[in-house]
Symmetry: C2
Subunit: 232 residues, 2 copies
DNA sequence: ACAGCTTTGTGAACGCGTGCACAACCGTTC
DNA sequence: GAACGGTTGTGCACGCGTTCACAAAGCTGT
């Protein structure tokens, strides 16, 4: 039997919020706050207090009724649950605009995701140094992944190269992929793929803008409202 | 009464998928495909065919039973619904690593989101040219937003400056914000905020890695399985 | 020891999104 | 023009996630 019993599955929606709580709790620690209620945390995160309590209850019963949660201990528990009790090395494929920015962005290393290597297929880019890391040729990928126990790969290539990049990552032994190319990439089961598509985000925003404009114009044609009153 | 009747609300989940369909349909157009079934589109998008049909049904009845959807017309309808029948100017706040990468990334302009300006508070960065756009001082923000009818703003500042950036955007008249700073930013109702936090994405991935590792080790302690069989 | 205030943890109801299954409908062929 | 294979559009049931509401439990002061 394991030291701590087999953990119940945590809902995806909760997993997506735990990092937010973690971030906020960290801020509170720096402020010197040692104790926090679900109501306070909820207001910081901009969500419902019941949701916070239910989310935290998936980790176990780490609160004290009438008091709240001990920040330090909660941070520890969330970190453990998210697998942040050790670093996760990552590799980046593609040393273009985005790849370089990611490599230069200190936030990854700082939060426990050091960059084990950045790779590009273009010989002109190889050996350039970006963000303190030397760009390597693609054929060194498998070796680096194995040597540094990399399990997370980031795709920062152009669209056309994204699927190939994913396949190389999988062949090298990577089991989690963060894809920034605006395309659907497929991977075998057992490999987690998350796609972050900046254009998609923009399009979701413009859909809402579009609706606001439409609603405003409908309103205007009925009541003469100028439709600007909802901003600010 | 409006030319086209008041449109029913489209579920958020569907809105998030429409851009994917749009992308794939565009690819198909270039391939010379003029007609497509929900089954085919679903397989391209990696989702269920019924979901595709239901999603598209929110736009109206634009398919033909027994035949499928006409790609060109569907593209037109999705674009219209997403508000892509005209360009949306965007401003970027923060000309650091990420701001520069975003500015240099051609994808935005190409997909109908031209960059009307990039701004930074640091006088040393002002007047640098990144991605063909001159970095402007922050106090020109309101003027640019007004002059170019900008309704979308991107926050690419450090965490500490993010909330202030959001407030400046709102004051300038922006009603949609895409936030890349790893922090919660609040805005008045009527302003849509979407946060894309790279660390959060990483943490979601490492949670799943963690679980895989845990499952594998439990398995190993029972059956001797080496836990590597699910990759590739 | 107990009353009163506070806050957690969770059962239960609700709402949204997903997927199945099928009727309605299109085009084609005989 | 009727029968048939194909595909859409959608009613329905199910499951997940959110929110409410409250009992259980801790703390404080008398």
């Amino acid at each position: 039997m394991s030291p701590h019993r087999t953990r119940r599955r945590i809902p995806d929606a909760t997993v997506a919020r735990l990092p937010i709580y973690l971030q906020l709790l960290g801020d509170q620690l720096e402020n010197g706050t040692t104790n926090l209620s679900s109501e306070e945390l909820a207001s910081l995160a901009g969500v419902n207090a019941a949701k916070v309590r239910k989310d935290l209850s998936y980790l176990g019963s780490y609160g004290t009724r009438g008091v709240g949660y001990e920040v330090q201990y909660l941070v520890y528990q969330i970190r453990r649950e998210l697998g942040l009790d050790h670093d996760w090395n990552v590799v980046i494929l593609g040393a273009g605009n985005l790849g370089q920015a990611l490599s230069g962005y200190g936030g990854f290393t700082e939060r426990g995701y050091p960059i084990a290597g950045i790779f590009d297929i273009d010989p002109d880019k190889v050996d350039n140094v970006v963000g303190g890391v030397r760009v390597r040729p693609l054929d060194e990928l498998a070796q680096v992944v194995a040597a540094r126990s990399v399990s997370i790969g980031v795709i920062a290539t152009p669209v056309a190269a994204a699927q190939d990049a994913a396949e190389r990552l999988v062949r090298a032994g990577v089991t989690s992929i963060l894809n920034f190319a605006p395309t659907v990439v497929t991977a075998p089961i057992g490999v987690t793929v998350r796609t972050v598509d900046l254009s998609v985000e923009m399009q979701i925003l413009s859909y809402h803008e579009q609706r606001r404009a439409l609603a405003a114009s409908t309103l205007r044609s009925v009541s003469g409202d100028d439709g600007r009153n909802q901003s600010a």
